[in-house]
């Protein structure tokens, strides 16, 4: 039987406000346990929440960026459940009136096609603290530093039909969020987390199959693998005549499989009701317009601009705008070097290759945009050849000197002195009489071999165009 997959994603993003959602505590990452927990965060009796409007601004910023409806009156609700790292015994979230309503993202798939994936809603809520189960001798420790940090939960429509689409959606979301500067969105650190709802059904069916939810996956790659393995699992069960149980599952990366984490409790009843300690948050068109006016250039717009302004392919432009930092880096290289095309090649191939190889972020790169621009400038003004430039690039990783100093110290400067080049040419002509004869007999392509010999002799420093010209001249 042919199956089709239906996936919905719930993504939690930590909003990068300076203080928590309802208290003045700092949200700085990595502080000692409970040093960023105020009396409100500890849920002392009598304490009350005060809404951090910065979180609202960030949520609206996200909403307008994805063209979503913005809730002009958002209402906070209490979601009740007991857990030691949930100090109030309820989480404050938005149930019926979220700040961000329906919107959509356009993703580009590997075959170059585009797909629009709907966003159902995005609501603001508070994070829980952390339970620490080690080092406490049979007891558990509670760290409330994270309790009350603002989250934006972004819920997709169940319109994703493959692991590839899921990852493309996540990456697009990640890119937009980073462009908007509303979160670090680092999956490995938990500032972006993803829950995946997966079901399958026979192709053509309109009813959704029973879904499972895979919780808290912390990398794009694991999202992809978890979906593939879960789809496989469901397919095997259904093809064996079995039945999918609606449950929460966890992805085990070591075994590349999902396992049930169903608790013994039956369905949770969170007993939501409007939070009486907070007033509804009311905003007007003017507020939304002001947020919109402050939006940065977003990835799609930037991609179109790059393609047009720098005469790049849509694909190349897409690679360059995949992160805001990379796009900004590229623009510096392009403008300072004066060669957008060459800059695009160096950034998307050499630089990105370097980052991927070392698993670096752009900020970790020892080659700053200004240095790369200078390197390209030196190719263009014939100081070095493109090939020598690769050597200089390698050297730049360890050597922080400026590009010219490296070229000078290493003696990599291209030879353009025609007298010197003539010496290489003469030597090559006298050492290769057969090839010279072939050329003279009309086998023009032999020229490539001869140029190569000259370059070798000059250790790559000779200007290839000059060599070419001189060779032809001498062999006439």
């Amino acid at each position: 039987m042919e199956w089709e997959t239906v996936i919905g994603l719930e993504v939690h993003v930590s909003l990068s406000t300076k203080s928590k959602l309802f208290s003045g505590s700092s949200t700085e990452f990595g502080a000692d346990p409970n040093t960023q927990a105020s009396i409100f965060d500890c849920a002392l009796p009598g304490t009350l929440p005060v809404f951090n409007e910065e979180a609202l601004r960030m949520a609206v910023r996200f909403g307008v960026a994805i063209g979503a409806e913005i809730g002009k009156r958002s209402v906070f609700d209490r979601k009740n459940y007991f857990y030691p790292d949930l100090p109030k015994g309820y989480q404050v979230t938005q149930l019926d009136f979220p700040t961000v309503g329906k919107g959509a993202l356009t993703v580009t798939l590997s075959d170059g096609s585009e797909k629009v994936i709907g966003v159902t809603r995005a609501h603001i809520e508070e994070n829980a603290g952390k339970s620490l189960h080690e080092e406490f001798h049979g007891m558990s420790g509670i760290d409330l530093n994270r309790a009350g940090e603002p989250l934006l939960e972004i819920v997709s429509e169940p319109e994703i039909t493959s692991a590839e689409e899921a990852v493309a959606y996540l990456k697009k979301l990640h890119t937009i969020i980073r462009y908007l500067d509303i979160s670090d969105a680092i999956m490995a650190q938990g500032s972006m987390r993803c829950d995946v709802n997966v079901s399958i059904r026979p192709v053509g069916d309109t009813e959704l199959g029973t879904r499972t939810e895979i919780k808290n996956i912390n990398s794009f790659r694991f999202v992809e693998k978890a979906i593939i393995s879960e789809v496989q699992r469901q397919q095997e069960i259904l093809e064996d005549g079995g039945r999918i149980i609606q449950e929460t599952r966890r992805y085990n990366a070591d075994k590349d499989e999902t396992t049930s984490m169903r608790s013994k409790e039956v369905a949770n009843d969170y007993r939501y009701f409007p939070e009486p300690d907070l007033l509804p948050v009311v905003i007007d068109d003017e507020y939304i317009a002001a947020v919109k006016a402050q939006l940065p250039e977003l990835p799609d717009a930037r991609r179109s601009r790059f393609a047009e302004e720098y005469a790049l392919s849509e694909y190349d432009a897409g690679v360059l705008v995949s992160s805001r930092e990379l796009a900004e880096y590229y623009e510096i290289v392009a403008s300072q070097s004066g060669d957008a095309k060459l800059a695009a090649n160096w950034v998307s191939q050499d630089l990105l290759g370097l980052l991927n190889k070392n698993n670096w972020e752009l900020a970790d790169s020892p080659i700053q945009a200004e240095r790369l621009a200078m390197l390209i400038t030196r190719i263009k003004d014939n100081t070095i050849s493109g090939k020598i430039a690769k050597t200089v690039f390698e050297t730049m990783l360890e050597d922080e000197s400026d590009v010219d100093t490296i070229i000078e110290n290493k003696g990599l400067k291209q030879v353009t002195d025609s007298g010197e080049i003539e010496k290489f040419v003469d030597e090559v002509i006298s050492n290769n009489p057969d090839q010279v004869q072939q050329y003279k007999d009309g086998k023009q392509q032999v020229i490539g071999f001869l140029v190569g010999q000259c370059m070798q002799l000059s250790k790559g420093k000779a200007n290839p165009a000059q060599v070419n010209e001189l060779l032809r001249e001498k062999m006439q």
Binding site: P45, G46, F273
Partner: protein, 489 residues
């Protein structure tokens, strides 16, 4: 002097006739003598009170003229007080010393008042008789076999028995007004949002409001001056320009339109109370007021709606008492679930548990629409009733409670206890201000009259109450047996 009003004590302090240390010591003596019998205080802060009194006297010498400077006060034990036990009348917080002050406490500290101690109350303010306190029943100073009312019963008894000059209370469904009526004193519940709830341990967040418990309406105005005002720490507190609530106390009542809700004079009201309130209305007519009947059509629904909304909010508000971070924790829990279950089973009393269960039920999937949503609808209807009434009248007057204080232990059925607040609850549901002032005596026990105003009409209510007290002396009546044994300063 201890049986004087705040206004009188303030005048004496100002004139130098008495020092804050002297009056504070007199109250401490009175507490030492009577608290064993009345059980009005859970904590008495003898040492710090005398220190604060000395500081107040020094401040006065240095030129401080704050109207409440050096006046001894008692706070209901629902207000968090820094470094002082704050129990909320519960075993759950029997060992809880707050690291911070409630805004109300902070404002009285800033005004220079002297904190005598923390008063007993129904556990988590859930009760109308003060019998649900983990720290024992409070006795009514007029008859120690009777309840003082609740939940602010400790504050009401303390003011009535002259254990303090004034006290704070909180009112979620009548918890200031009903004990004020039972103890023969003045109680005032401000408009919702008028007084900050920061540091006031939550029972039902959308209904809770702090207010003064005093010996006169004028004193209530003085207290309200200190308590009221925007607090950025409470998002539901309202930004209003500062108001002097004493300013309009002496406005003549000529032409005042008093609404009398027929629903508050219906079946269940005792004859004595009805007679006393009717007599008061006659008094107002003499002062030039016009009496009009008003129709609060939906008032019979108020108790039912309240007992959905308040327990629903309480069920969430009390979730934080889980034994994890502070307060009571059961002995040797075997695991998390055992800790939760036993901590909460042992830490909460019966009435609190009952309300958590009611609230949990009302919010449960499948019942939410039938209970919580419906109760909110009723709430709107009740508010609309009041809006219609206040389009025609300036204040609404009726009884505070259907009868005088009942005997301790006489109401074992929770529903009959809930019906105690039949006249007061609608006011909380609508968020309105209301006072209860003494209106007469029956069989040696005081009775109360409720004066309800439109939203933010505190000053008008205080004016109406004060004028009554200028022409009657019900508020000056003192409980006999205790008054005779007093040791005055």
């Amino acid at each position: 002097m201890i049986n004087s009003t705040v206004a009188e004590i303030a005048a004496a302090l100002k004139a130098g006739d008495i020092s804050s240390v002297e009056i504070t010591q007199a109250y401490l003596n009175r507490i030492a003598k009577l608290n064993g019998e009345l059980n009005a205080f859970i904590t008495v802060c003898e040492e710090s009170a005398l220190e604060q009194a000395a500081a107040a006297d020094a401040a006065r010498s240095a030129g401080n003229t704050s109207p409440l400077l050096g006046i001894p006060i008692a706070h209901k034990d629902i207000f968090c007080t820094k470094d002082i036990l704050t129990t909320c009348g519960s075993r759950m917080l029997h060992n809880f010393v707050s690291p911070y002050n409630a805004t109300v406490v902070e404002r009285f500290n800033d005004a220079g008042t002297v904190l005598l101690g923390k008063t007993n109350m129904d556990e988590f303010a859930m009760g109308s008789s003060n019998e649900t306190s983990f720290f024992g029943d409070v006795k009514n100073p007029w008859n120690t076999e009777c309840v003082p009312g609740g939940s602010s019963g400790g504050s009401a008894a303390a003011v009535a028995a002259d254990l303090c000059a004034m006290a704070t209370g909180t009112d979620t469904g009548g918890s200031i007004r009903q004990p004020a009526a039972f103890c023969g004193i003045t109680g005032f519940k401000p408009s919702y949002g008028r007084v900050s709830r920061w540091g006031m341990i939550a029972f039902a967040s959308s209904l809770d409001q702090a207010g003064p418990i005093t010996k006169s309406a004028e004193d209530a105005a003085l207290m309200l001056n200190a308590m009221a005002g925007l607090d950025e720490k409470d998002s539901t507190s309202i930004d209003r320009p500062a108001e002097d609530f004493t300013a309009s106390l002496n406005q003549p009542l000529k032409g005042l339109r008093i609404g009398v809700p027929k629903q508050h004079f219906a079946e269940g009201l005792s004859m004595e109370v009805e007679k006393a309130v009717r007599a008061a209305l006659a008094e107002y007519e003499k002062l030039g007021a016009i009496i009009k009947e008003v129709d609060l059509t939906n008032s019979h629904l108020s108790v039912s709606a309240y007992y959905v909304v308040a327990p629903a909010e309480a069920s969430a508000n009390l979730s934080r008492f889980d034994g994890v971070r502070y307060g009571y924790r059961c002995e040797d829990p075997v695991d998390l679930e055992d800790m939760y279950k036993r901590t909460r089973s042992e830490g909460f009393g019966e009435e609190v548990k009952r309300r958590i269960m009611i609230g949990t039920y009302a919010l449960s999937a499948g019942y939410y629409d039938a209970y919580y949503r419906k109760a909110q609808k009723i709430r709107r209807l009740i508010k609309e009733d009041f809006d219609r009434a206040f389009a025609e009248v300036d204040v609404i007057i009726g009884p505070t409670s259907p009868h005088t204080a009942f005997k301790l232990g006489s109401k074992s059925d929770p529903v009959s206890m809930y019906l105690e607040d039949i006249y007061t609850i609608a006011v909380n549901l609508a968020g309105l201000p209301a006072a209860s002032i003494p209106v007469g005596m029956a069989n040696g026990m005081p009775m109360g009259m409720q004066i309800i105003g439109a939203y933010f009409d505190e000053a008008k209510i205080l004016n109406v109450a004060h004028q009554f007290q200028q022409h009657t002396d019900w508020h000056k009546q003192k409980p006999g047996p205790i008054a005779s044994s007093e040791g005055e300063a």
